[in-house]
Symmetry: C2
Subunit: 186 residues, 2 copies
């Protein structure tokens, strides 16, 4: 088999989540994942830096889903409107990924270290959105607070979305949660 292995990345991701479910995250090794996916460990390490990265992927690409939407919002959009655009874009990012997201969430919530990693990911996302808002000209305190409102809404919406048996529109749910936040602070 040559260096180029079509679908190796996806096969590794599927193999990893199966093993995490079967044996637990800590008890699964990179070697186990490679065997299950039918590739070598070298192939694993060409796709992922380590076992954890299979679950977390590239935070830059994930954050860019939000920040690109903030940047692309019309010049006259308020910071909140730009964040609403980001929430809808993030909803699109997760479209069709509900079954995997449920499995991934189950693995993560069963492991304190992974849960902390997930929470840190949210902090970095908030910082990235705040920066994108400042680049649109929002004053730093407004950018910081609006970014926080956006990630609070998104993560509360995500928790509900992933808990439901059937996939719904995550972006619309996040915008709805933003409305609940407005009501909670009114």
């Amino acid at each position: 088999m040559g260096r180029w292995q079509p679908g190796a990345r996806e096969r590794l991701a599927v193999a990893a989540i199966e093993l995490f479910e079967e044996r637990g995250y800590d008890a699964t090794t990179v070697a186990d994942i490679a065997v299950r996916a039918g590739v070598t460990e070298r192939t694993f390490f060409r796709q992922y830096a380590d076992k954890r990265e299979v679950l977390f992927g590239d935070p830059t690409a994930y954050n860019a889903t939000f920040t690109d939407a903030v940047a692309a919002a019309p010049a006259e959009a308020t910071p909140l409107e730009a964040v609403v655009a980001a929430l809808r874009a993030a909803g699109g990012f997760f479209e069709g990924r509900h079954p995997y997201a449920r499995r991934r969430t189950a693995v993560i919530t069963s492991n304190a270290a992974l849960l902390e990693r997930e929470q840190i990911k949210r902090v970095h996302l908030t910082d990235a959105i705040a920066e994108a808002l400042r680049e649109r000209g929002a004053p730093a305190p407004v950018a910081a607070l609006t970014a926080e409102l956006g990630t609070v809404a998104f993560h509360q919406a995500f928790a509900r979305w992933v808990a439901a048996d059937v996939e719904t529109d995550l972006g619309a749910l996040a915008v709805q949660v933003l409305g609940e936040l407005r009501a909670a602070i009114a």
Copy 2:
């Protein structure tokens, strides 16, 4: 010297922050801290589980400052009003601690692992406040969102408070930031 050493805990905290400033957190050992404080390592470990705990203390006591205030708010107080009471109580907790808070923050922001720990502390605080709000009868989604608003306000206020040269009223600042959040989402 007997087992009882008056002020050992405080001397250890002062010695630790001095050493973290001088040598960096990673390069400082528990033995270094004990020597600087003029106590044995055994005394250190009677006071703190490890080096990190000198900076983070007991999260239960910290969280209780907020949650006790939520619980003590009048029965007719809304979830947001209970959170406002918590923000004022937390302001009282930090009263007079501005010089130490500035030094601690400088140490923490220079170390990625400590910064992550600080962010996780905030997540646990949010969970604790949400639980206290549910115990007052708030529906779970309202409790979760109001707790998030409270910790966003508190941490943004704390960042400003600690960045200022002169100590101001942290509780009042946090309530002001809550007003800014309301404006950002209006």
